[in-house]
Symmetry: C2
Subunit: 507 residues, 2 copies
C-alpha cells in the first residue's frame, strides 16, 4: 500500500485557525467524547494500536519531513519514532490490562448500627475534551501523537491538538495518520483534531473554550505560565499540566570525583551536548566542592565542549534566546566563561558554552537559576557540604536532580540527598538526566516552576490520570454498574475491595 | 485524669492572628515538616491515634462547647465526634498498612538494546506545610481535627489550621488536644498550629505564604473562589482543594414515583431538613415528570416541610443568607412558594421552604442553580425524558446527583444516568445524598463549582493524595531507597513491580 500522507510534503503554509474552526473542532470533540468515553478498554486500545501501525507504516516519510523541519539528526529522530510507537503500545497494553482505572469497592453493611452502610464503588473516568500543545523539541514523542495526546485518548478523552509551528508539515502528516486510524476502526468523528496557531490568540481561544476540560503543554516557562493564568481566570478553572523545563542540577560528591572524575565529566558533557542541548532534562548546573579533582573534572568537561561543533537549533527564536542567555552570562561579573565550542565555525548555529560561578554568587543571583535552553552548563564551586546544602535550599522546583557519589559519599551526604527530594520530581544517582524512560514508575514532572502541577507526570503510564477524575457509584444494582465495578470481575483487573487489593469476584 | 482543656471554656475573645504570628506558625510548621516527613507510617499512626484518644477522653467537654457554639443537636454532635474519631483511626490504619504510598517499581534491564534500562522506583511523598480552613457546619469532622487536618498529617505534611469563627472555643479545645498529643509522643514542635481570623486579610496572608504548599477549604463558593484566585496568582501557584457546596439534584423516575412516591417524599424531606439543611450534600433540587404521582409526592413532601420547626442556624450570617435566598426565590415570577415550616413560630430561626418551578424556567434561569444553604428545596417539573436530559445538560458540577428508579426506570433512563456522571462526583441510586461514608471508595468532591479540583475528595482515605506528589528514584543502591521501595518488602505493602501488583520481595 502506498503512503497516503506523502503528498502533503511540500512547503504549504498553515494559517492560524479561525475562531469558527476552533469552536467546530472543540464541539466535534465533545460530541465524539460523549460516545467514546463509554467504549471498552479494548476498543480504545485498538484505536491506539492503529495509530502506532500507521506511524510505523509511514516511518520513512515522517523521518524525511522531520529532518527537514527540525534539523535534528536522523538517528535521533528514528529513535524518537520508535519510542513514540512503543509509548503508544504501552498505553494500549495498559488499557487491555484494565487495572489502571483504580477500581475501589466498599461493600454494603446492611446490619451496621446506628445506620446501614451503603455499597460504594469508585473508578477513574475521563473528563472531556483536552487541548494538547505540541513541543518543538520532540516532534514525535511530545507532539501530535506524543505522550500527551495518547494518554488523553487512552483515558477516554477527545483531543484538540495545537501543532507546534516549528514542524507544521510533520504535524499534518501525523494528524492524518491519527484521523485515518480513527476512521478505519469506526471511532467517532472529531475524537482527534488539529489546529495550527503561530499567534497566541487562537491558543488562548482554545484555553478559554468552556468545553475544554484540561490542557497539556510542553514548552517555555513564559508560555506555560500564561496558559496557566488564562485557565485559572476562566469561569470554570481547568487544570493545566504545563511542563516548563528545568536547570537539572547535578551534585558531584568528593570521593567519586576523585575516583571517576574523567568518566563523569565525559558522560555529563555528552548529556549536555545531546541534540544541541535541546532537552528539558539537560544538565545545566554542575555543583562540586573545590579541589584539584574538581579542576581536573572541569578540564575534561571543557575539552568536550570546545571540541563540540555548533549545530542548528530547532528554530531561529530558540537560537536567539540561547545566544541572548549565553551572552548575558558571559557579560556577568560573577560568571566566568570557561570555553566555547563550534570549531567548525558554522553560521547560525548554537555555540556550546561552559561557565563557572561561586556558590555564593549562584545562591544570591536568581537569574543564574533560569533555564538556558541549549548546550550550556554553569559549574558552581562549593567549598564544603554546608555550601551544597545552601545551594540545595536556593533551588527552585526541578524536573530532575542528579547526584554522583560512592557509597561513602551517599552516606556522608545523606541529609543533602534526602532534602533534594523536596526540589525535584526525579532523583538520579550516578547517571545522566537526559533519557526519560517511558515506564510505570517514571516521574517527568516536578515542583513549580518545572511544572504547574507537581502531582502529575507527562511521561509514563501514570500520565493518564491527568485526564480522569474519580466517579463514585452508591447503591447501584450490579448490572447497572460499569463493567470494571461489577461483582463478577470479568475483566480480571486488580481492585481494592474493602481495603484489600484483589482480582477476586464478589460473591 | 481530669480534663486539661476544660478551663478554656469561657467567653474568651479570639483576636485575628497578626502577620508575625502567621509567619511564625508557618515557619515552625516547615521546620517540623522537614523532620516529620521522614517518620515511619507507624510513628505517624501513633500520633493520629493519640489525637483520637484525646478527643474521646474529652468528649463530654467538647460536646458541651460545641452545642453552645453551633446550636446543633446533641445527638448529631455526638455522632459527629464518633465519626471524627473513626475517621482518624481509619487514617492511622491506612498508615500502618502502608500500601497507600503507591509504590511503583520498574526493574533495570542492563542488557536492553540500544541502551540499558535503569532501575526506576516511585512513591508518594508529602509536599510541605498545608493550610486547612475549618468549616462552620461540621465543627468536628470538617474542622480542627477533621478530615482535612488528619489526611494532611497522615500524608506527612505539617498543618497550619485556620479556625472557623463560628466555633472558636471548640477549635481551641481540639487544637490543644492535638498539640498535647504531639508533645506526648515527641512529634516535632509546630507540626500542627492554629490561628484565628474572622477577617479575610490574615487568611490571605496564609494563602500567600511561600512555605504553604496546598490549601484545603470547605465553605461558600465566594470564599472558596477567592482563595483559589489568590493561590493561582502566587509566584508559585499552589493547589487549592475548595469544597464549595452544591445543589445536589435528585431525579425521580416515573415507575418508582408511582409505586413508592410517599416513602421517597418522606425520605427526601427528612434529608432536606436534617441539621436545618446545613449540609453541602443537602438535596436542594428535586426533578420529576408531571403526573398525578408527582402531585401526590409533592403533597407528602410539603406535609413534612410545613410541619417542620424552624431551627437556629450555625451563624447569623448563614441565616441572613438563607433568608435572602428564599425571599428572592419567593419573589420570582417563575417560582412558586409551595409552603413554609416553622409552626413553633420561633424567632431568628430558619423557616423550611419548598418551591416549585417549570423545567424551562429552571434551565434558562441560572440563579435557580445557585446553592441555597439551609432547609429549602426547589421542585422542578419536567414533562418527559427529553426535559430531564435538558435539565441534566444545564446543570453545573455537583458533589452528588441522586436518581430514584425501579429496574425498568433505570433501564429506560440509562442514557440520562450515564450522562449525569459528567456532572457529579457521586451518583446515588435510591438513597439520600446526606450521610457521606468515610471509606476508601467515597468521592466527596466533583466538577466545578462543587469544588476547585474535581480529581480529589475531601472525605475518605484517597483524600490523602491532595497532600502528596510522586517522587521518582532512579538507579539508587537498595539501601539508600525509602523502606517502601527497597527490594525486601519489609513493610509487606502492595507494590506495582514491572506492571504487576504484588507483595513479593525483589530477588
Amino acid at each position: 500500500m502506498p503512503s497516503t500522507i506523502a503528498q502533503s510534503i511540500n512547503n504549504k503554509v498553515f494559517p492560524d485557525a479561525t475562531v469558527a474552526a476552533i469552536n467546530e473542532a472543540v464541539q466535534k470533540g465533545h460530541n465524539a467524547f460523549l460516545l467514546y468515553r463509554n467504549f471498552s478498554g479494548v476498543a480504545k486500545a485498538n484505536f491506539l494500536e492503529a495509530i502506532a501501525d500507521g506511524i510505523e507504516y509511514e516511518r520513512s516519510v515522517l523521518l524525511t519531513t522531520a529532518m527537514k523541519e527540525t534539523f535534528l539528526a536522523e538517528a535521533r529522530l528514528n529513535g524518537e519514532i520508535t519510542r513514540t510507537i512503543n509509548q503508544i503500545k504501552l498505553f494500549a497494553d495498559l488499557l487491555k490490562k484494565g487495572s489502571w482505572v483504580n477500581a475501589i469497592i466498599d461493600e454494603a453493611q446492611p446490619e451496621r448500627k446506628p445506620l446501614p452502610k451503603p455499597d460504594i464503588r469508585q473508578m477513574q473516568k475521563p473528563i472531556g475534551v483536552v487541548t494538547v500543545f505540541g513541543a518543538s523539541n520532540f516532534p514525535f514523542a511530545f507532539s501530535t501523537a506524543g505522550g500527551d495526546t495518547i494518554s488523553a485518548l487512552a483515558s477516554g478523552c477527545a483531543v484538540v491538538y495545537k501543532a507546534h509551528p516549528a514542524h507544521p508539515q510533520l504535524s499534518e502528516q501525523v494528524a492524518k495518520i491519527i484521523i485515518e486510524a480513527a476512521q478505519k476502526i469506526n471511532m467517532p468523528a472529531g475524537i482527534f483534531s488539529m489546529i495550527h496557531a503561530a499567534a497566541i490568540e487562537p491558543a488562548l481561544e482554545l484555553v478559554q473554550h468552556p468545553l475544554i476540560k484540561a490542557i497539556a503543554f510542553t514548552g517555555s516557562f513564559k508560555a506555560g505560565r500564561s496558559i496557566y493564568d488564562a485557565a485559572a481566570k476562566r469561569e470554570e478553572p481547568i487544570p493545566v499540566y504545563a511542563e516548563m523545563g528545568s536547570i537539572n542540577p547535578v551534585f558531584i560528591l568528593p570521593e567519586i570525583l576523585q575516583h571517576r572524575g574523567d568518566e563523569i565529566a565525559k558522560s555529563l558533557a555528552a548529556s549536555n551536548l545531546l541534540s544541541t542541548g535541546q532537552f528539558c532534562t539537560n544538565p545545566g548546573i554542575i555543583i562540586a566542592n573545590e579541589s584539584t579533582d574538581r579542576e581536573n573534572f572541569q578540564n575534561v568537561f571543557l575539552a568536550s565542549i570546545v571540541n563540540a561543533n555548533g549545530e542548528t537549533m530547532l528554530t531561529d527564536s530558540i537560537l536567539n534566546s540561547y545566544n541572548q542567555h549565553t551572552k548575558k552570562l558571559a557579560a556577568s561579573d560573577e560568571v566566568k566563561l570557561l570555553g566555547k565550542g563550534n570549531k567548525m565555525g558554522k553560521q547560525n548555529t548554537a555555540e556550546p558554552c561552559m561557565f563557572s560561578v561561586s556558590a555564593d554568587a549562584f545562591i544570591s543571583n536568581h537569574e543564574l537559576h533560569e533555564e538556558v535552553f541549549g548546550p550550556a552548563s554553569l559549574h558552581v564551586t562549593a567549598m564544603n557540604k554546608d555550601d551544597m546544602m545552601k545551594i540545595a535550599a536556593s533551588l527552585k522546583g526541578q524536573l530532575t536532580i542528579t547526584i554522583w557519589g560512592t557509597e561513602n559519599d551517599i552516606t556522608e551526604y545523606n541529609e543533602l540527598i534526602n532534602y533534594l527530594e523536596l526540589k525535584a520530581g526525579r532523583i538520579i544517582i550516578n547517571g545522566v538526566p537526559t533519557g526519560v524512560e517511558v515506564t510505570h514508575a517514571m516521574m517527568h514532572g516536578g515542583p513549580y516552576p518545572a511544572t504547574t502541577d507537581s502531582k502529575f507526570t507527562s511521561v509514563g503510564t501514570t500520565s493518564i490520570y491527568r485526564f480522569t477524575r474519580p466517579v463514585c457509584y452508591q447503591n447501584f444494582d450490579n448490572k447497572f454498574l460499569p463493567q470494571e465495578l461489577q461483582n463478577e470481575n470479568s475483566l480480571n483487573i486488580v481492585r481494592m475491595i474493602n481495603g484489600e487489593y484483589t482480582t477476586n469476584n464478589i460473591d
